[in-house]
Subunit: 148 residues, 4 copies
């Protein structure tokens, strides 16, 4: 059985995901992963809330940041590493419902710097609503290159 | 016994803090609270990490966001509410060590909009290092005013 | 002859545009204006450059900021006002070419706060390239409401 | 006469500044330049305004962006280059008065990435007011290194 590069790359991402303590803490899992896009989903829980009972902005940011990082990683050669340089997120609607999702999409991949679009959605009564949206700068250390 | 406005205000903030599930999840506590400034501290744990073992950017963001919100709340009349409109955070150094701290400071309080400076520090070998820094826009619903 | 609300609104936006000194300085004009979207275009000139000869990031930001403001204004009742609370822009490619365009699109309109997506493109050899992309928070003072 | 490294570096920055068309357009000049900090000043003019007569947010951004870039350049070896990756700016007060100033300060210089704090002030009736504040990510290509 052969494993092509693309599949190995995704396996590498899933292994990276499993090593993130914060993803275990949120009981999150990767629900979509393709070239340039990653989606992370978790059940909402009382321990994810802020003072008004909505999902905490930082919890949304955690899922969005990981999703963006994996989106960047998905277009890099296996063995590459990514580091968040910064992100900026606008909170657009109260985050309520039973399920939380963070989505990252690569908007531009440069030699060292990737720019990703980040989005968070929550599902309530079977309807998904965008509750946060933003952008992220990712520093990419490509496999086989010097540390940068 | 009289309770002056300022003390009541801080009690209100501490009550709000206790109602945040995400702060319990991170085992965070308020370690400083004064007019225009709030500081939140938590012990580092394996479940707060990203894939390289550093504290997850989103965990830092969670503590920074709450600290900024409480900083804004601390200059408003008791009974007021705050909502994060957006934040932007630069990650400046790997977040490693035994303790994590988020600090929020009000830079400007307007009629409806506050701007806070956010900072995250981690302590390693008894030395604190700034690992993240940013800004936050907070929407303020002052007690006694219409919803805005 | 009757002038409907929508047409009056756009006339109001064009009048506002003409009152912007900075748009005259850049010799910019509105090239598209519809509900929720505005586009501003200018010829590139040597006086718009940064040190490497590319269009200055701040010139792109100026056109993007105005475009976002007019996009927000286009969905508000005539006589409303908008103020930029903040913007964040990623620069994704060197801005070179004969023509510069700033595009603003409303992503969410709330009671007081609008969030716009901003984009800048430049045209070289008849091809448009996205050279900057970002987000903007706009404070909206709707006609007929108190100042906020 | 010897010229030490530091002086050569600053001469290099002033030459770079003179090559910026946008700085000529705004009639701006460097009014302070030291290791890690740069300040750019211009007289206010009607052609710098937005629709309410305040200085346009993009004009403030232009001066802040250049100031941040020169602040970063001032701590790099002569012959180095800088590129804005992104900036985020909060607008905190109406920008009115006779003089406009953009200030950039290096908060962290890494191997490739610098983070600068940006501020804009305007002077009215001899009093300076902070009207904008933000952060900037700068990509640094150090003299003598590969393009990165």
């Amino acid at each position: 059985m052969t494993v092509d590069n693309r599949t190995r790359n995704l396996a590498h991402i899933r292994a990276s995901f499993r090593s993130e303590g914060a993803m275990r803490l949120l009981r999150a899992r990767i629900t979509r992963l393709e070239r340039g896009c990653a989606e992370i989903t978790a059940k909402n829980q009382a321990v994810l809330s802020q003072q008004d009972g909505f999902v905490h902005a930082g919890v949304l940011a955690t899922m969005m940041d990981s999703a963006g990082g994996y989106a960047a990683l998905s277009v890099l050669p296996p063995g590459s590493r990514v580091l968040a340089v910064e992100f900026k997120i606008n909170f657009m609607a109260p985050a309520v419902g039973d399920t939380i999702r963070g989505i990252g999409t690569v908007r531009r991949m440069g030699k060292r710097i990737a720019v990703c679009e980040l989005e968070a959605k929550t599902r309530k009564n079977k309807t998904w609503i965008t509750c946060a949206w933003g952008s992220q700068t990712v520093y990419c250390i490509k496999a086989g290159e010097a540390n940068g």
